[in-house]
Every structure is written in structure tokens, then in C-alpha cells.
């Protein structure tokens, strides 16, 4: 009697396990280390980070985006999608009304907690390096139930390689400085922008040990004497007025790559357009890199 009872319980357990695994067909883990269970691929997606919106569209699932944040402006079809405010401080009510299957966003603790408590599934994905981009593409592909993440990553990689191969040997090792913002906040070797610059064969004067986007002492930049400076259009006019900067190689020889307003979005987002970013950076380096 005991044995048959145990067998029955065992059978029930097995059936239960089978049922639950059938119930949750998808499992995706996010940057918090938490696993999200979904019964089927997400059909209604809200994205609150521009790079994630671009990735979803690059995976040919643009029509599944029912809501995006204010700054998601590429591709242009996203203009017709409901805007939900900023990525870190979105309009919670508007998100809930849209009844999304999942919300993909970066870390914004309060918003994530609030959405979870309202029963909305949240996937926290914040790509910061090239390896992150590859991983996030895979996560999104699993989430959406589409193929093509590997192919997309290989094409981005190939685009960067093309730009790298277009660089002449002469410009290998050219010292560059990429200024992200007034401060000066620089992009170091360990940032995603720095990774692109390294693959283009240049030497970033800001070492990886300082973190991805450190606030540096301007004297350090003057001492390191970069040959090419990347800077936004807005700050470009202030370069010559900075004390002591007139001696920098790049400024004396006018090797300053000005990043136009419309190019800023492409370069500043670790996403599917990194190949284009590499092309923009390579184009400027071809003009300014070591042709004396």
C-alpha cells in the first residue's frame, strides 16, 4: 500500500513538473540576475532605453513595441509609438494601461519595483560593453521568440571590422582623446566607445584603469598630448580657450573631430548602430590621423 502511494505521489510530482515547464515555455534572465518566466514569446513590449528600442527593431520586431521612452528616436517609425516619458522616471500609469507582456528598461529601482508590484513583468537590461550588446541581443531574441541575434551581432562586428580594415597602417597607435561631456568626462579604453576606437587601431590616452567614463584632470590630457581629439560640436568652440590646451598636438594641427548633433545619438548608444558609429569615427580618423 505504501509503495503504491509513494508511486502515485511521484507520478503526480512528475506530471506537475511537466505541466509547469509547459506553462512557462520561455525563461530569460536579466542584468539583476533574476529570471523571468513567460508562457509564450512577448507580443506587446515596452522599451524604456533607446539602445534597447533600436535592438528590438533591428531584430525585426518593431511592430511589437507598444510604448517607448521619450529619447527612443530611431528608427523613425518609433515616432508613432506612444511616448512614456523618460527612461528612468517613466509614466507608470501609461505603461500599465498599455498592458505590455514585458517592459525592458535600464536600472531604475523605484520604477522597476512599482511596475512589479502592479503585476507588470520587467526585464532589466543595460548594455555597457560590446560583450553586453551581444548578450542583450540574445536575451531579447529569446524574449521575442525570434532568430537572428547571432547573425545581427556578426553583421555589427563585420561593420566594425570593415572600418578597422579601412584604416591605413600609418595611423595605427595614434593617440586619441574622446571627450563625452564638459568636465572633462572622457571615454576610456574600457567603455564601448573606447572599444571601437581600440579596434580602429588607435591608442586611447585614458587607460581602462580609470573606469569607463572618468572625470579627468585637464592637465593629464595636456601632458598626454593626443594627436586627435573627438568632441561634440557644442564644446568644439571652447577648446582653444581652455588654459594650456593650445599646446596639444591635436589642437595645433587642427586634428579635431567634431561630432555633429545628429551623429551623437549613433555614437552614444551601445546598440545595433555601433557599426555606423565605427564608420563615423573611422571617417574622421582617416582625415586626421597621421598623414604628415
Amino acid at each position: 500500500m505504501n509503495l503504491s502511494r509513494i508511486m502515485k505521489q511521484l507520478m503526480l510530482c512528475c506530471l506537475g513538473l511537466l505541466a509547469s515547464s509547459a506553462l512557462f515555455a520561455l525563461q530569460v534572465s536579466d542584468d539583476r540576475g533574476m529570471t523571468l518566466d513567460l508562457p509564450s514569446p512577448a507580443k506587446r513590449v515596452v522599451s524604456l532605453l533607446p539602445s534597447l528600442s533600436e535592438m528590438v527593431c533591428a531584430l525585426h520586431a518593431c511592430d511589437r513595441l507598444v510604448g517607448v521612452d521619450r529619447n527612443s528616436n530611431f528608427p523613425l517609425t518609433l515616432k508613432n509609438v506612444t511616448s512614456l516619458g523618460s527612461g528612468l522616471d517613466p509614466n507608470i500609469e501609461a505603461i500599465v494601461v498599455l498592458k505590455p507582456d514585458v517592459v525592458v528598461m535600464s536600472h531604475a529601482h523605484r520604477a522597476v519595483e512599482r511596475l512589479n508590484s502592479l503585476g507588470v513583468k520587467v526585464l532589466v537590461l543595460e548594455p555597457k560593453t560590446h560583450a553586453d550588446v551581444e548578450r542583450v541581443l540574445q536575451s531579447l531574441a529569446t524574449l521575442l521568440g525570434v532568430e537572428g541575434a547571432q547573425k545581427l551581432w556578426r553583421s555589427i562586428d563585420a561593420e566594425i571590422n570593415d572600418s578597422a580594415n579601412s584604416m591605413p597602417l600609418k595611423s595605427k597607435g595614434a593617440r586619441v582623446y574622446f571627450e563625452v561631456n564638459r568636465g572633462p568626462y572622457a571615454a576610456s579604453e574600457s567603455s564601448f566607445i573606447g572599444e571601437i576606437l581600440s579596434r580602429l587601431g588607435t591608442k586611447n590616452i585614458i587607460p581602462a584603469s580609470l573606469g569607463p567614463f572618468p572625470l579627468v584632470n585637464p592637465e593629464f590630457i595636456v601632458k598626454a598630448n593626443p594627436e586627435v581629439i573627438f568632441i561634440t560640436a557644442q564644446e568644439a568652440s571652447t577648446l582653444s580657450s581652455r588654459p594650456g590646451w593650445g599646446r596639444i598636438n591635436a589642437i595645433q594641427n587642427k586634428h579635431v573631430c567634431v561630432i555633429a548633433n545628429h551623429e551623437e545619438d549613433i555614437i552614444a548608444r551601445p546598440g545595433p548602430r555601433m557599426g555606423q558609429a565605427a564608420a563615423i569615427l573611422a571617417h574622421c580618423l582617416l582625415i586626421h590621423g597621421r598623414f604628415e
Binding site: K223, S237, P243
Partner: protein, 326 residues
């Protein structure tokens, strides 16, 4: 006083020696040709700039506390901090939103925008308070203007959140780009302010006894107060424009001086200046050398240094007073 001056000189030497690689012996200057240029072009104006800015803030802190007869007054009370921040935010956002307006603003420069913002805020405060007569009203209007302009600044930043990082360096204070022009401007400004304010120290002494007493002593409060408010606005405007918002120097310097010596306002203004200079100079050097080659915002260090020193002094006094009694 002599002690403070020597302290300033020490800070100056230290500041000129510390670079992005940490402390460097100046004696090695002839061996490294680039070093001399770096010292002259970058470190010297930066350290001198920090000293001048600190002097301006120390002076305006003492002025504010004397004028408003409030030991918690700081030089940003008339709304100048929020005005300057709004000016800088508007300049940064305008360029991205409409490049043509931005070009015009670029010629003005961020320092110009900050200065104009600070002045407009002070004028607004004065207009709302309808004159210099009632200090309480002036104080209240200053706070209101500060809060309202701060809200406008936040709204402006919403238009383009990408400038938030640039704004952060302004709002926490930075001496990164102080060059010789800025130093000369601040030095002249400080001289002008000192020359006008120190003789008027008698007014502040009189005011501390109460307005009616001051009038009965024969002081022309209305006019003299107006002059001092103008000096305050000028000093704060100059310092905020060049280095951004630096907290605590204006508030702490007069207290630090008073805890060490007992002086009349005329001397307090002068000594508070020098104390402010030493404080900001030391903070600037530490900001550069603690995490070299990275940099800490100087406003963070002034708060830690000034606050820590003030706490220590208070503890010492309490200790010595209880010790003296027993």
C-alpha cells in the same frame, strides 16, 4: 592673520606642484621643458584662481552674515546660485535645441551666461523686495527667487537630459578651466570689493547692534546697505561664473575666523577672505591629488574640509569650556 597668509602661500606652492601625476618637485623644472609650460599655463592660474575665488566667497559670506544679521546666511541667499545655474542650463540646452541661438551664446561663454544669470536673479530679488530697506523681506524674496529659478532650471534640463552631466560639474564646482583671464578678473573684482567693503565695516558693526541703534549712531543705513548688497552680488556673481557653485566656503569662513579671533567687521571681512582662499585652495589641491589623474568636484571637498574643521573647532571649544569650569 600671518598664519593664514603663510597657509595661503603653502597652498599655492603645493597647488603648483601637484599635477595629474601627483606631487612633483618643482626643482626638476629645468630638466623637463614641457613641465614649465604646464606649471605656468595650467597649475598656477588654477591654484591662484582657487585662492581668488575662495577670497571672494569668504568676503561675500562675511558680508551676507553681517547684512542679514544671521549666522546661517550664505552668499547665495539672494538667489544668485539658482540664477547662475539657470543661465548655464539655458546656454547648454539652447545650443542643442537651436544652433543659431547657441552660436550667439557660445560667444558669451558659459561664464558670461552664469554671471548674467546671477545678476538677473539678484535684481529680481531686489525688485520683489522693493528695495533694500527690509532685510527680512530681502531674505525671503531671495529664497523664493532661488527656489523658482531652480525649478525653471530643472524644467530646462528636461528638454535635453544629455547636458545633465555637464551641469553636474557646474553645480558641484570645478576649477578645471580657470585660466589667466579668469584669475585677473577675479583678482580685480576682489580688490574692488575689499576696497569698498572694508571701510563700510562700521555699518555692519552698527547693524549688529540693531537698526535703531545704528541709525542713532549716525549711520546712513539705506544707502550703505544698498552699496554692500551690490558688492555682495558682484563678488558672488564673479565667483559663480568662473568656478560654479562651491558650497560651504562662504558659510564657514566667517565662523572659522570668529572661532579663532575676536574682531570687528572691518577686519572680519579681510580675514574671512583669506580664510576662504586657504580653504578653497586646499580643497582644490586635494581634489586634484586624491584620485590622480581623476578629479573630484571641488565643492565636495570644501564641504568635507570646512565642515570637518568647524566640527573639530566646536568640539574643542566645548571641551575647553567644560574643562575650564571643572
Amino acid at each position: 592673520m600671518l598664519l593664514l597668509l603663510t597657509l595661503c602661500l603653502v597652498v599655492l606652492y603645493w597647488g603648483v606642484s601637484v599635477g595629474s601625476a601627483g606631487f612633483v618637485n618643482l626643482g626638476s623644472m629645468p630638466n623637463e621643458p614641457g613641465l614649465a609650460a604646464i606649471v605656468f599655463d595650467i597649475r598656477l592660474p588654477r591654484t591662484l584662481g582657487a585662492l581668488c575665488c575662495g577670497a571672494l566667497l569668504g568676503l561675500s559670506g562675511a558680508l551676507a552674515q553681517g547684512l542679514f544679521r544671521n549666522p546661517l546666511a550664505d552668499p547665495y541667499l539672494l538667489g544668485s546660485a539658482s540664477g547662475a545655474t539657470l543661465g548655464v542650463a539655458a546656454a547648454l540646452v539652447a545650443f542643442r535645441v537651436s544652433p543659431s541661438a547657441g552660436h550667439w551664446l557660445a560667444r558669451l561663454g558659459l561664464t558670461g551666461a552664469a554671471f548674467i544669470g546671477a545678476m538677473v536673479a539678484v535684481l529680481l530679488t531686489l525688485a520683489l523686495a522693493r528695495g533694500f530697506q527690509h532685510t527680512f523681506r530681502l531674505l525671503l524674496c531671495g529664497i523664493v527667487v532661488g527656489v523658482v529659478l531652480g525649478a525653471l532650471c530643472s524644467l530646462t534640463l528636461l528638454l535635453d537630459p544629455q547636458v545633465l552631466q555637464s551641469m553636474q560639474t557646474f553645480m558641484l564646482g570645478s576649477t578645471s578651466y580657470v585660466g589667466w583671464n579668469s584669475v585677473i578678473m577675479m583678482a580685480i573684482g576682489w580688490l574692488v570689493c575689499i576696497v569698498i567693503a572694508v571701510p563700510l565695516g562700521r555699518l555692519l558693526d552698527g547693524l549688529s547692534l540693531g537698526e535703531s541703534t545704528a541709525i542713532s549712531l549716525g549711520l546712513n543705513i539705506g544707502f550703505l546697505r544698498a552699496v554692500l548688497v551690490c558688492v555682495l552680488a558682484l563678488a558672488v556673481g564673479l565667483s559663480v561664473a568662473q568656478t560654479g557653485l562651491i558650497a560651504f566656503v562662504g558659510l564657514a569662513s566667517p565662523h572659522l575666523v570668529r572661532s579663532m579671533v575676536k574682531v570687528t567687521h572691518a577686519h572680519l571681512l579681510l580675514i574671512s577672505s583669506v580664510m576662504g582662499a586657504a580653504l578653497l585652495g586646499a580643497a582644490d589641491v586635494l581634489a586634484r591629488c586624491l584620485l590622480a589623474p581623476r578629479e573630484l568636484p571641488v565643492g565636495v571637498l570644501t564641504a568635507v574640509l570646512g565642515g570637518g574643521y568647524l566640527l573639530w573647532l566646536m568640539q574643542k571649544r566645548q571641551f575647553s569650556s567644560t574643562g575650564g569650569e571643572s
